[in-house]
């Protein structure tokens, strides 16, 4: 404390110019170009929410993004263009199908390696080289495939308490996995943040004992979730992508198609900003809405 007071001049002198600060931030927190979300400027530390009816391709987008993230940038001479990082997936919907991820990863690996083999053939026209590569290709695909599959970390939760327990111990788990793999976690995916919404909303716990005791309710659970994610992002900067299924779809769909200019003011849980035109009815508490930095709405017409 004494040091700060002793040199007030130092304190008001500038630390760095805007140009150096921008350069520093862009290298420390680079923009993530994650197909299929590559049109959206995402950065680590952002919390993105993908909203859509069921079925829309929300989980599909997550799986594609996961494949892009676990693939390395380059492997055995083939360029994959991945981010070479770990992905953590919390499945609250309990509907995740690993075979989809596996198929997509295999397709991507085979697509890229086939493309590069053809290139080598044209460029070198050396039969020995080509024969060696084809002999190598089944084995190194397998190696790359199993490496990437091991970079995908998965857990499923059957209720809010398990979800909270997962979030609370996520810090230690991330550290452990980062030590094990040697690379950092880049994305945390939560499939269907609104999965326990009805169960939490209907849970009426009797307030027992002391008055400062928190009873588990929708509000307290959501606040704790947002708090834990915020703390996690401070320690481990990563991108958080959460999907959300709309649960009040049909009743409002005709109305909203007609009144897309107006706001659904009858909804008590909607966001307070009147300039937002939401084609769906918001049901998550405002503490979660304010915690998200990006909202991407996927509206698929069936």
């Amino acid at each position: 404390m004494e040091e700060v007071v002793a040199s007030p001049r130092e304190w008001i002198d500038r630390n760095e110019s805007a140009k150096t600060m921008l350069a520093r931030v862009l290298t420390a927190r680079p923009l993530l170009l994650l197909p299929p979300l590559h049109r959206v400027p995402l950065r680590v530390g952002n919390v993105v929410e993908l909203v859509g009816t069921s079925p829309s391709a929300k989980t599909h987008i997550l799986i594609q993004a996961a494949v892009s993230c676990v693939l390395p940038k380059e492997w055995n001479g083939v360029h994959y263009g991945g981010l070479d990082r770990l992905v953590m997936f919390i499945d609250l919907d309990c509907r995740f199908d690993i075979l989809r991820l596996s198929k997509m990863l295999k397709h991507r690996i085979n697509g890229e390696s086939n493309g590069s083999l053809k290139k080598i053939d044209q460029e070198h026209m050396d039969f020995d080289l080509w024969n060696n590569d084809t002999k190598k290709s089944p084995t190194y695909d397998e190696e790359l495939y199993s490496l990437c599959m091991r970079r995908f970390l998965f857990i499923r939760c059957y209720d809010s308490f398990q979800f909270l327990a997962t979030l609370k111990t996520l810090n230690y788990r991330i550290r452990k996995e980062q030590e094990l793999h040697g690379i950092s976690v880049h994305i945390l995916m939560i499939d269907s943040i609104g999965a326990f919404h009805w169960i939490d909303r209907a849970s009426t716990f009797m307030p027992l004992g002391a008055t400062n005791r928190k009873t588990p309710s929708l509000q307290t659970v959501s606040e704790t979730v947002v708090q834990e994610i915020r703390k996690l992002l401070l320690l481990h900067p990563m991108l958080v992508i959460a999907t959300k299924a709309t649960i009040f779809g049909d009743r409002y769909s005709m109305e909203t198609k007609r009144n897309l200019g107006k706001l659904d003011t009858s909804n008590s849980r909607s966001m307070s900003s009147t300039s937002l035109q939401l084609p769906y009815r918001e049901y998550m508490p405002s503490v979660w809405q304010n915690g998200c930095s990006h909202h991407r709405v996927l509206w698929i017409n069936l």
Partner: protein, 321 residues
């Protein structure tokens, strides 16, 4: 989730001093710990005289919380589990099997949607007979509308069997029928009771050869849930969501095929849509729509939703009398 004082026996570091400290912050049980910010708690613990012991207690409690959730798995482990345990069971109906690329998948919740007499119960009975006979697995059938017909199941079993083997037939038939357990449930709470009992049985059951339960049918889940939905409260939706989670948990942890049926209601513009509303849509893994051509025995089935198939794919099949 236990109150803290019961944890003292197993973990002596959570002594009465620790419990009193927690009580001053309104923490009496594990649930309260989950809702509390543990870093703030550590900061408060530092101000106490016994801070070291309290911090050790908090670390101990964190490791207890670590045991409260499912284990973390990586992609390869998940894939191995899917390939070893989550096979596909054929329904006995070629059309549906072709559409679903083999049949019903274990570990998944499949929903059959259709208007009345569109063949939902017939498909359920056919699947029951097929699983009991060909796959030699146990079947648990929760019947909500007295539509389970043992005679029909016997007909299906007899259809595909070799007529030459007659002597051992009665015994075989008895053996197959013994694998099918039918419960009549008329409200959702009875269904929860039956499912919880099933969970207990499955957990404690030793691998008894061919009596392993493979198929769980709820015909129909909509008749249990519809009476409690609506009315403005969220209790009905909460029960429906809980039922969905319980069925998916049973499917995944005990490698069962879970098949439920749902009816249709009128939607916008007169087009019928599945009952149970928007929240139910995201619960089943696979949703199939059945319909029946009037007066014939030809049925149509189309895919509403599937994790790896485009919706709209359709097939036809016949169920003979």
């Amino acid at each position: 989730m236990a109150p803290l004082k019961y944890l003292e026996q197993e973990y002596p570091i959570l002594d009465s001093n620790f419990q009193n400290f927690c009580a001053t912050h309104g923490i009496f049980s594990e649930e309260d710990l989950l809702l509390h910010d543990l870093h703030v708690l550590v900061a408060f613990a530092e101000q106490q005289s016994t801070s070291e012991r309290l911090k050790q207690g908090i670390t101990q409690v964190l490791s207890i919380i670590d045991g409260q959730h499912q284990p973390w798995l990586n992609g390869m482990e998940l894939l191995e589990d899917a390939q070893l345990n989550k096979h596909v069971l054929s329904t006995g109906c070629e059309g549906i099997d072709l559409l679903l690329e083999g049949g019903l998948r274990m570990g998944q919740l499949t929903e059959l949607v259709g208007a009345s007499s569109s063949g939902k119960t017939q498909v359920c009975l056919l699947a029951t007979s097929n699983v009991a006979k060909k796959h030699m697995g146990g079947v648990v059938y929760l019947d909500t509308g007295n539509s389970f017909s043992p005679q029909r199941v016997i007909d299906f079993i007899r259809q595909n069997s070799d007529p030459a083997i007659d002597q051992a037939k009665h015994r075989i038939l008895q053996k197959v029928m013994n694998r099918i357990l039918c419960h009549s449930v008329f409200d959702i709470f009875t269904m929860f009771d039956v499912l919880h009992q099933l969970e207990v049985n499955l957990r404690s059951q030793m691998q008894k050869g061919d009596c392993q339960v493979r198929l769980l049918i709820v015909d129909s889940i909509s008749s249990l849930v519809t009476p409690i939905l609506g009315g403005g409260g969220s209790q009905g939706h909460a029960l429906m969501a809980s039922a969905g989670f319980l069925l998916k948990k049973l499917a995944h942890e005990h490698n069962l095929v879970v098949l439920v049926t749902n009816h249709t209601v009128g939607g916008e513009g007169g087009i019928s849509k599945p009952a149970l509303g928007e929240s139910w849509k995201s619960i089943p893994h696979v949703r199939l729509r059945l319909s029946h051509d009037q007066g014939s025995s030809i049925y149509n089935v189309s895919v509403f939703k599937h994790p790896s198939m485009v919706s709209g794919k359709a097939a036809r099949f016949t169920i003979y009398d």
